[in-house]
Symmetry: C2
Subunit: 380 residues, 2 copies
C-alpha cells in the first residue's frame, strides 16, 4: 500500500487530471507498474514523453512528507476515507475528452471525504448578479441546515456566495480546486479557503504548488459533480464553466438542478437552456433541492398552494348562486335564480345556506353580499 500511495502521488505530479490515457493505463497495469513504466520511459501512448519534463527532481516520498507538514493528506482509492461515489466516474461518459476516477485527492481540512455522500454541489457564474448570489447564499444555508455538506469551487460569484451561506449557517463546506490546495486562487479568497481548510475541506487532484490552468478547471468540475449527490446551477451564461459541471452531473446521472431567473439576464441564459431541454430540473430554493436529492420521500414537500378563500368551501351550485348576487346592490330571488341558471326552489334553499354562513344577507327587497363574500373581482 505504501508503494501504491507513492506511485499515485507521483502520478498526480507527472500527469494531468482526467487524462484518459492515464485512466486506461491505471485500469490495465495499476499505479505502481504505470509509475515504473513512466520512470523507465516505457509507458505507452506518449505518456512517458509527455511526463518527461516533470521527472527532474521528482520525489514522491518527500512530497508526501512536505504535504503532511502543511496539514495536507493524500487520499487514494481503498483508503477508509475514500469517497466511493467518485468511483462512478469509471462508468460515466467522458466530457470534453476528460474522464475517470481521480488518481488520488490532496486534502486539507478536518472533514472526512467519506462523509460527503449526501453532499450537494452549488455552482454558477463568476460574473454573477446580486440576485444569483442571494440565491446561492440561501441554497448554501439551506443545504447546511439540512445537515448536508456543500460542495463548490472557490471562484468569485456563486461559488463564494454558496460557501458563505453554508458557513453562516454553521454548516460544513468543501472547495474543490483546480490548483494545489496550498494555493489560493483567486488570491482574494485566501481567507475563505483558510476558513474552509479549518472547518471543512479543500480538495484537489493536483499536488501542492500546481497552478490553476484552464483545462484543470474542466477536470476539476467532474470531481465537484461526482462528490455530491446532486448539482445546482444558480446562474450560468451560455459559455459558463458551471454548465460544464452540469454536464458531468448529467453524465453521472445525478440530479441536475437549475435556478431560473429573469429571461433578460444573460447570467440565467445557460440555466434556462438546460431546463428547457429537459436536462435540469427547475428549483426555486433549498426545499426543491432537498426534495430532488433526498432519499425517497425524505423531503417531499406539499404541493404549493395559494391562499384558501372562504368561498372555496362552497359546492358548485352554491357558488353559482352566490356569484349571481350583484356586487354592490340587492337582487330579488327571481333575478338571482335566472342569473345563476339555477332552479328557483334550489336557489332559495341555497340563499338560506349562504345566509347562515354569512356569504349573503337578506335585505328588504332581496339579498345582498355578506361579510364572507370576498370583494375580489372575478377574472383570469
Amino acid at each position: 500500500m505504501k508503494d501504491e500511495r507513492l506511485a499515485r502521488a507521483a502520478l498526480t505530479r507527472l500527469t494531468e487530471p482526467g487524462d484518459v490515457r492515464v485512466v486506461d493505463a491505471l485500469l490495465q497495469v495499476g499505479a505502481v507498474r504505470l509509475y515504473d513504466d513512466v520512470l523507465a520511459h516505457r509507458a505507452a501512448d506518449r505518456l512517458a514523453d509527455d511526463a518527461a519534463g516533470r521527472l527532474p527532481g521528482l520525489d514522491p516520498e518527500a512530497e508526501l512528507q512536505q504535504a503532511a507538514d502543511l496539514g495536507i493528506r493524500f487520499v487514494i482509492p481503498g483508503d477508509l476515507e475514500w469517497p466511493t461515489q467518485l468511483d462512478d466516474l469509471a462508468h460515466s461518459e467522458s466530457v470534453s475528452e476528460l474522464a475517470g476516477v481521480p488518481i488520488g485527492l490532496w486534502v486539507k481540512g478536518p472533514l472526512r471525504l467519506d462523509s460527503l455522500v449526501d453532499s450537494v454541489a452549488v455552482v454558477g457564474s463568476r460574473s454573477s448578479t446580486t440576485y444569483g448570489e442571494d440565491i446561492a447564499r440561501r441554497l448554501g444555508a439551506g443545504v447546511a441546515r439540512a445537515g448536508r455538506c456543500l460542495v463548490s469551487g472557490a471562484a468569485y460569484g456563486i461559488d463564494q456566495a454558496a460557501h458563505r451561506g453554508a458557513l453562516a449557517a454553521d454548516g460544513r463546506s468543501v472547495a474543490v480546486l483546480a490548483c494545489g490546495v496550498d494555493r489560493a486562487y483567486p488570491a482574494a479568497h485566501r481567507s475563505l479557503l483558510d476558513h474552509l481548510a479549518t472547518t471543512g475541506a479543500v480538495v484537489s487532484e493536483l499536488p501542492v504548488g500546481c497552478a490553476p490552468l484552464r483545462l484543470r478547471f474542466l477536470s476539476r468540475n467532474r470531481i465537484i459533480a461526482a462528490l455530491s449527490s446532486g448539482t445546482v446551477v444558480v446562474e450560468a451564461a451560455l459559455r459558463s464553466g458551471a454548465l460544464h459541471t452540469a454536464g458531468w452531473a448529467a453524465s453521472l446521472s445525478r440530479p441536475l438542478m437549475g435556478v431560473p431567473g429573469p429571461v433578460g439576464s444573460a447570467q440565467s441564459q445557460g440555466v434556462h437552456h438546460w431546463i428547457r431541454k429537459g436536462a435540469a430540473s427547475l428549483v426555486t430554493g433549498p426545499h426543491d433541492v432537498l426534495e430532488l436529492v433526498g432519499g425517497a420521500g425524505q423531503y417531499l414537500q406539499e404541493e404549493p398552494r395559494g391562499p384558501v378563500l372562504p368561498r372555496d368551501s362552497l359546492n358548485r351550485r352554491h357558488r353559482h348562486v352566490l356569484e349571481a348576487v350583484p356586487l354592490r346592490r340587492c337582487a330579488g330571488l327571481d333575478s338571482i335564480a335566472a342569473t345563476a341558471g339555477i332552479a328557483l326552489l334550489e336557489a332559495q334553499t341555497a340563499l338560506g345556506y349562504l345566509a347562515r354562513h354569512d356569504f349573503v344577507v337578506r335585505a328588504e327587497d332581496g339579498w345582498r353580499l355578506g361579510p364572507r363574500a370576498t370583494a375580489d373581482l372575478p377574472g383570469a
Copy 2:
C-alpha cells in the same frame, strides 16, 4: 340549419357555458330537440328547472337580429367559419367540472375564427409585474411578426400587455370574454376591446348583455386554450386563473409553456411550479414559443451558444501548451513543456504553430502570450 342556429342561440342564453349536462344532452338529442325539451320543461338532469328563470322574454330570432345590428355574429359548429380545433374539447378531460365544445360563439370583429388554427395564447396574472408585462408585450409582438394571431383574455396585466404587443406589431389579436361581447370588462379596457373588434375579434360563449361571473371565467379559459395551438403563461401566482387556462392546454395535449422569472417573485411561483412538475416547457421569448408550437422543424432554432473564442479553434494538445505559457511573463520551452505535461519536441512544434497564429510570441528568453491569446482568466 336555421332552426339549429336559433336553438343554439337560445341555449347559450338558457344555460351556463361548459355545463356537462348540456354537453351530454347536445350529444344525445341535438340542439333543436334539447331546446324544445327545455321549452316544454322535459329536459333531464334538472336542466329545465335551472333554465326556467331565463325563459321569460326569450326570443332567439330577435336576439340574433339585435346582435347583427351591433355587428355581432353567432358562429356554430358546421359553419365554414367554425374553428374546428374547438372540437378537441369533446375528447379532453373536464377541468373544474366544466367541459365540452361550446354551443356556439358570439363574435364581433373582422377576423374569421377559422383562421385561428395556428394562433398562440398568451395569458397571465392581472396583478402582473413590469417584468411580466414587458415579456407579454414582446411575446405578443413576436407572435404577430410570425404571422400568427394572438389569443388572450381582456384582463389587466398580462392579457392587456400581450394584446398591445401584437397590435403594436400590426398583428391580429383576439380577446375571449367571460361576458357578452358588447360589454367591456374591465370597463377601462373599452377602447382596447373596441380596437380588437375593429381589427381582430372579440369572442364569447355568452350572448349579448351577459355579466362576467366568476365561473364564466373558468369556462372561458377552455376556449382560449382550445382556440390556440399553444398556451404561454407569462406570470401566475399559485392561485392565478392563468393556471386554469394552463390546465385546459394540458388537458387538450396542446403545447403549454411558461416564462420563468425571479424565484422570489410571487407572480412567477405558479409558472415555476408548472415547469418544475414537467407540465409546462420553459420558454424565454417568442423564438422558443414558435419552435414549440410550430410545425415540425418550422421554427427550429439553433442551439444557443456563447461567443466563440479564438482558442476554440485549437486542438486539445495545442491548448495545453498555450495554457502553460504564463500570463504576464516569458517562459522557456522546457518549463512550458513540463507545465503542460507535453513532450518537449511536440511542445516545440506546438509553440511554432501557436506563434504562426498569433497566440504566442517568441521572446529573447522563450515565449510569451500573443495578441490572440485572450486575457480572460481561467475559472468556473
